[in-house]
Subunit: 279 residues, 2 copies
């Protein structure tokens, strides 16, 4: 079963919400230790709580790396438990390197950490994507990539929006993503090379959807970052597939550390996000 | 003492050779186990062997990450030992993310792993560099960055060479690097935001040296990747400072796993590389 089809199944069953796991020790409920063990225990609990409302989780490698060696043990435990619970996992690590180094990153993501997919950075060009693709397609089951195309951060346009040969840089990246993606389509009609596309500019989103008709979009910024379910609409295809919408803090940390009813608040936030995105 | 001045001191004492530590388990001498413990033991030995010939080491995070949790313990041990031995360290991880996520990566690099500097990817724009800079400049001692500008891999030009507003994309990145760098110059006249610049095209190198007169260049590709000491010449300033030249496999793995005299071969390769780059 291709990565695209597994993602399509997750969306059909649970909707388009992707749960971003960005564990900041200072935001944990006060009953957890502010260390890697506390982060691991909290994240494992979150996975169980949100399971009915989402089929996709995206752990953010930076927050685990910040906790050093035990942080990576926590990340591994979270990815393992997510897999056991049937989530499709996206390791958000934005890796990018070349040749055998890119291959080592790919093997780290898909073998060592056993993630279903990985976010990658396109700046280094073709040879920074192909080794990831090779490892992803040789894996059993096949894995996927999400390439940064147009990010929604305030400074994201500094280089991504530069006009190059008549169109902004990110459209050139989108063109290559569509090409890599279309080499390996699943039964759902989508492929294994997704695109990270912010929802801050609806016109851009419409254009990118047209340019990459068979590409899965990972849309960040929903919830705490101010994006709405309506903003993401243009990312979907007519069949309702083609995009997943990430919420991190909005669903995982909808409470203050001293609040006792944090579990109920996470469940309520996940349920609401799922419903909003389905509407 | 600024990062730039520490780098200048290392270059004045030991020359411009940067030792790239890219440990592949299958290339270790056969007396080492093909695992993280073997990698750690081998790398610690390499650091001692090459100490007279180089003042700068650059561990490649990908090869440690591939070995999982114990791989990161090995990476931490290598960085710690390198610091004890007086090397300036460059953690080659090509990180890139935004806002608090970029800050987490910066804290991972400069606090958790205690590296002197980090390679970063510019695709996400201003907000993907500034959090790294903030953490680097607040650290004691101050740390540095090396931003990917023009990489030497065959597909590196796919996006980096796109003509944008009259000049290739990488020149736009170089412009921003020069601006960030010039905010914080050391006594040597160079700053804390370096540039990764391949030596494959001498004309490009000359232009970039002119465009970024106070920026440290990290030049990859010397040795096993086919670059020569002459290729890198245009990267230096007239004062002989301004560039360090990386060799990974050429100096760290100049032997076959079954060869007994690997220590002597590493010493000979490091000595020769130092001399070639000084000539």
């Amino acid at each position: 079963m291709t990565f695209a089809d597994r993602l399509a199944d997750a969306v059909k069953q649970h909707g388009t919400l992707c749960m971003g796991i960005d564990p900041r020790v200072e935001m944990l409920p006060k009953e957890f230790h502010a260390d890697a063990a506390g982060v691991e225990a909290f994240c494992l609990k979150v996975l169980e709580l949100v399971r009915p409302y989402s089929g996709i989780v995206k752990p953010q490698a930076a927050f685990f790396e910040q906790l050093g060696v035990p942080g990576f043990a926590a990340m591994q435990a979270v990815l393992k438990r997510a897999k056991e619970l049937g989530f499709v996992t996206i390791l958000d690590a934005k890796r990018g390197d070349i040749a055998s180094t890119a291959q080592a990153y790919a093997e780290a993501a898909f073998q060592t950490w056993d993630a279903d997919s990985l976010t990658v950075n396109p700046y280094l060009g073709r040879d920074s994507i192909e080794p990831f693709l090779t490892v992803a397609r040789q894996s059993v089951p096949q894995r996927g990539l999400f390439v940064l195309v147009r990010t929604s951060n305030p400074g994201g346009g500094m280089f991504q929006n530069l006009p190059c040969d008549g169109q902004p840089l990110y459209r050139h990246v989108a063109e290559e993503v569509a090409r890599w993606n279309d080499e390996c389509l699943g039964e759902c009609g989508l492929g294994d090379v997704g695109a990270v596309v912010g929802a801050t500019n609806p016109k851009e989103l419409v254009e990118l959807r047209e340019q990459m008709p068979r590409v899965w979009f990972l849309v960040p910024g929903y919830g705490a970052q101010g994006g709405t379910a309506a903003d993401a609409k243009a990312a979907y295809r007519n069949d309702g597939l083609g995009a997943i919408v990430n919420s991190s803090r909005g669903v995982v940390f909808p409470f203050k550390p001293e609040e006792a009813n944090w579990e109920a608040k996470i469940v309520a936030a996940a349920k609401q996000a799922q419903a909003e995105l389905r509407a």
